[in-house]
Amino acid sequence: MTPDGASSGASHDAPTHAAQDAADGRVLLDDAGIRRSLMRIAHEVIERTERPERLYLVAIPNGGIPLARRLAANLRQVADLVVPVGVLDTTLYRDDLLTTRERPALRRTEMPSAVDDHVVILVDDVVKTGRTIRAAMDALMDFGRPCAVQVVGLADRGHRELPIKLDYVGKNVPTHPDEEVSLESIGSGEEPELRLVLLSRREHTGQGGES
């Protein structure tokens, strides 16, 4: 995995279309679909936030990072808002850390300014059990006292294990618990192409952005 991108996918050059079978899984949302979702979410955020100048996006790595960056660009385009974008690694707050022998690798945390009195919007790629969001909320509280916390999930798979609901959803993705959904980035550089892919359990490599 690259520190800035989503989980590293295959390096296909040609863009793929939604519902088309990719070599390594079924594409649920292609890059254009993800762009449309994030533009709609930007409008929804503006509509629902009373004081949008207090917005603060916090990406959950790795998949949340490119999504939060795009969402911030959309907010600038739609409402001329410059919204801070932070990155918050939730690994050290996970509830299953010490249950296995091998510890997961840590990812970067970078919070550019204080979160106090801001409306923090957590941005994640795939939300499933809700445990990552729980960990992210705990981590966030160590950085201050936001006046509200909301969540954007590009894909909502259901299968919640905690009482957490998303405020903004890119796409509802009904899946079997054994399947894996992950955000892949194709190509490298500043603006990699993104796509949301459904993998069957057999093909899963253990690197997906499940949460």
Partner: protein, 312 residues
């Protein structure tokens, strides 16, 4: 991959070292927060078992453990049970019965952490044993060099001082060699162990040759308490020939950094001026020590699987 206990750098693979350094990279950020604490080791117990006195290393492990929310218990048997002639292994077994999740051990005799690890079910972290190894010091040295230079591969690291009695030197030699640096050692002849070059280092008795073109100059502490025999005529002469000052540092690279595991004998291994100012990075080493030990505790603590749960 990473073994149950961290007893020495000699046992580690390059990937293990890099994984610890990469983890420490992220731990640095926690030290910059207002709330310098994460819940990772909540409810876990770390025992600092220090048979040999130590302020800095023990405090560093203690702060590291507390930043990870562990309960840290300091245990210095020299003061208590050892006087009642309890053997080291009995002490270890007693501790084990209290169910710690990590035991950090320092002892004046080489090999004691290994013997303790053999009887404990908890992982053991060696915090220095005799003249054998001091792995977390070497790891924080590598971390500091990587932070300063951006890499370790291809650098020249010169270690100056009592190589013979130094566990720091031994661990540093293993660590820097495994990460691809060229390592040189320099000292008066009696302080250079025979066959040291078999480890893959070059030994020098001329400081000037040893630091010629070096990227990193590491001065070791002259440990008066360990020096019994005639290792050098006088402290003054040692300081004149092997003490690092700005004049001698001119032979090293222009951007060379100076390191020291501390505490510094000012005016002996390092000039007063260098002990406090760039290019020495001694306080960075101390600061990084906490992050590095957090990484070690994170990676080694409680390495006992308690049933698998499917959580994502």
């Amino acid at each position: 991959m990473i073994q149950q206990s961290l007893l020495g750098i000699e046992d580690l693979e390059r990937e293990d070292i890099e994984r610890i350094l990469d983890t420490a990279e992220h731990m640095v950020e926690i030290g910059r927060r207002d709330v310098k604490k994460v819940p990772t080791l909540r409810g876990r117990t770390i025992v600092n078992l220090f048979f040999e006195s130590s302020t800095r290393t023990r405090a560093s492990f203690e702060i590291a453990g507390k930043r990870l929310s562990a309960d840290v218990v300091n245990f210095s048997p020299s003061g208590s049970s050892l006087k009642k002639s309890e053997s080291i292994l009995d002490t270890a077994r007693t501790l084990d019965a209290m169910d710690p999740d990590v035991v950090v051990v320092r002892h004046g005799v080489a090999g004691v952490p290994k013997r303790i690890a053999d009887v404990l079910s908890a992982p053991v972290i060696n915090a220095g044993d005799g003249a054998h190894e001091h792995p977390t010091q070497a790891l924080l040295d590598c971390f500091t060099v990587r932070q300063e230079k951006g890499r370790i591969d291809g650098l020249t690291v010169t270690i100056v001082g009592d190589i013979l009695h130094s566990r720091v030197a031994r661990s540093d030699i293993y660590a820097f060699l495994k990460l691809g640096a060229e390592v040189r050692v320099a000292a008066p002849p009696p302080m250079i162990p025979p066959c040291i070059e078999q480890l893959g280092v070059k030994a020098y008795t001329s400081l000037r040759e040893a630091i010629d073109g070096a990227d990193v100059v590491m001065a070791l502490r002259i440990q008066n308490e360990r020096l019994t025999g005639a290792f050098f005529p006088s402290v003054r002469e040692y300081s004149a020939t092997f003490g690092i000052d700005r004049a001698k540092l001119r032979y090293a690279k222009d951007d060379a950094i100076v390191m020291h595991p501390g505490p510094v004998n000012r005016g002996v291994e390092l000039s007063h001026d260098l002990a406090d100012h760039r290019p020495s990075v001694i306080l960075d080493q101390v600061r990084n020590g906490v992050a590095l030990r957090m990484a070690v505790l994170y990676l080694y603590a409680g390495r006992r699987p308690v049933g698998k749960r499917e959580t994502e």
